[in-house]
Symmetry: C2
DNA sequence: TTGTATGCGTTATCAG
DNA sequence: CTGATAACGCATACAA
């Protein structure tokens, strides 16, 4: 490992000059010296020591990505198709901007705070963070932070969130179902906080705008981690007879349920229609292909990095609540009950 | 941010003593001082500066994870279900051992080398690395390195690889197909290097051991990135009439093809049987559920980290070529042609 | 048992 | 245009 000092000694010059050449401050160095230094830098393939840089500059070129893991759906949260696509796009963007990414997946906020501080991370992207944790983090870490898919009460402190038109997504989907004649629609969610809650609001609003009203008992909340358990599935199976459509808060739930149901002889969409949310790979792979709400996960990750870098570089902007657009994707998992549509077309 | 010096000044003692307390060298410090220091450390929530530590200790507590991305199947390699599960398990293991993980996904080996050197990474896990790149890396970076799923010629230099019983996997699968009466089996691969090649060898061996011979024209190589293109799929579709089974080198290919075929009216497994490899989530979700070769991806990641840490800590071990076991998973995508099996049982 | 001094590699200040 | 020197936070050899 060649250091600046090595190079300086070889040429009999000072480290300052070498450093200046490295940083392109060539206005302060004679052309001849520049060339001599650059030649050696190339010859020995000089690579700066980032620890030393961090120490003097009080910045690290590291961007932290913190995932608050809920170990329910998958063994590890990174394996969740939604998160892995998000992480992938964030990583690519971070790297393309000359920064490094350090991932922390932990549900221990204290550990997260320590990790962030110990590396003097330049900025932080938080996914799935609870509001209390965010407050606690901010009391110790005051560098730029961007949230993804957070619905923290926005009056508490100024923050940047990259989210989604969640409400519009379910609104459009519910309108779609209503238009096709569905009235007995169950809404399946993880919980009634954050994203799921807002999606439920969109669902409600669509009913209201169509002169209908959502019945409270049609909201089916599935405890995280319970979905795969037979008891929970079994219960849903029994209740399904009351409905013509299951509207799921995520593709993952939709797909899991569709398989469970069709394995038990339920014909989809003839007997029961399904809709999802997210448009992950699974939605395209399953048969019948899932009617769902598309969101550009990659874009979400890129935007989060872009805004974070703006903050790091001190570039002003006014948006605090960025919402990535959604789009309805009509596939084959919803049956038309109106009989007005052409019955022959299976793949619109 | 409280530093050791701050603490020392507050107590009117030296940084050495504080440092000793932090590192538990309490044998050299009076009990009273230990308590006074610890109290302050807790009060101000002292967090060490890792850059400073790296500088003095010439190690970083960072483990690098390098993915050589082939941007064919997915937009970003981290989103590949196989890799995301692997990354997730590696991250969890690294964290549980008190290390930090830095991910690099790049197909530019030069960039990778610079990143690794600039952070003075303590150890490196390489996924999908080409042999030449490995050589080049090792010429500049001589700290512990563990490969995952690499089939580099092992005589070149000593290395540790965490791989899979790839050959056994396809051997068992082919035997299974032969036993069910299949003879016209196409073998679908990405390429004829590394993992895919070894899997092909297992396939061949199974034929030989059963007194049969693989026909060269039954090896169908799909160029990466070409799979989704209609032309390639179309060609496979035409050729499928010559076969009773498609044996795929990965679940992803199998699933993609199954959908293409069944969307065109091919009944699976009645008209054509399919098998995969890996047993990713998709294999369980698709219908008919995919008969495939299970591998414990999480275990693979954990083993890679374990061996890397052994090397980092100077613990001797003799294994250089670790092979995680595989297991046949019989699901519903293969038809029995022997008629000896009970025809009623659809889910064995 | 505690303190002093030095160095890790880099950048920044300031003087020549 | 160039260089000497200090500083970042920490660990450690050596002194006291």
């Amino acid at each position: 490992m060649v250091t600046i000092k090595n190079i300086a000694d070889m040429l009999g010059i000072s480290t300052t000059t070498v450093s200046n050449v490295i940083h392109g401050k060539t206005g302060e160095v004679s052309q001849q010296t520049v060339e001599r230094v650059e030649k050696l830098l190339a010859k020995y393939d000089y690579v700066p020591n980032n620890s030393a840089r961090s120490l003097t500059q009080n910045r690290s070129n590291i961007i932290g990505l913190a995932l608050r893991g809920r170990k329910d759906k998958y063994e590890n949260i990174i394996a969740d198709p939604f998160f892995s696509e998000l992480i992938g796009s964030i990583e690519a963007k971070i790297r393309s901007q000359g920064y490094f990414m350090m991932i922390y997946s932990s549900d221990d906020i204290g550990e997260l705070i320590r990790n962030v501080l110990t590396w003097n991370v330049d900025g932080l992207i938080l996914i799935g963070m609870l509001h209390d944790d965010f407050i606690r983090l901010k009391s110790r870490y005051n560098k730029p932070t961007v949230l993804i898919d957070s619905y923290a009460p926005r009056d508490i402190m100024n923050y940047v969130n990259v989210g989604l038109e969640d409400e519009k997504g379910t609104y459009d989907m519910t309108c779609h179902l209503l238009k096709l004649g569905h009235r007995r629609i169950a809404f399946l969610a993880d919980n009634m906080e954050g994203v799921d809650y807002v999606r439920y609001l969109g669902h409600q609003k669509a009913f209201l705008d169509n002169g209908l009203k959502v019945r409270e008992e049609d909201l089916l909340i599935i405890r995280p981690g319970m979905l795969e358990r037979e008891s929970s599935m079994e219960e849903l199976y029994h209740r399904s007879k009351d409905y013509t459509a299951f509207m799921c808060c995520s593709d993952y739930y939709a797909v899991t349920l569709m398989n469970y149901f069709s394995d038990r002889g339920v014909k989809i969409p003839q007997d029961l229609s399904f809709t999802g949310f997210d448009d992950i790979l699974l939605a395209r792979v399953i048969r019948p292909a899932l009617t769902t709400v598309y969101q550009d996960i990659t874009k979400k990750g890129q935007l989060a990095v872009e805004y974070l870098l703006k903050m790091i570089h001190g570039i002003e902007f006014t948006e605090r609540d960025i919402k990535v657009p959604v789009e309805l994707v009509i596939r084959d998992s919803v049956k038309s009950l109106t009989k007005i549509e052409e019955p022959g077309l299976k793949n619109p």
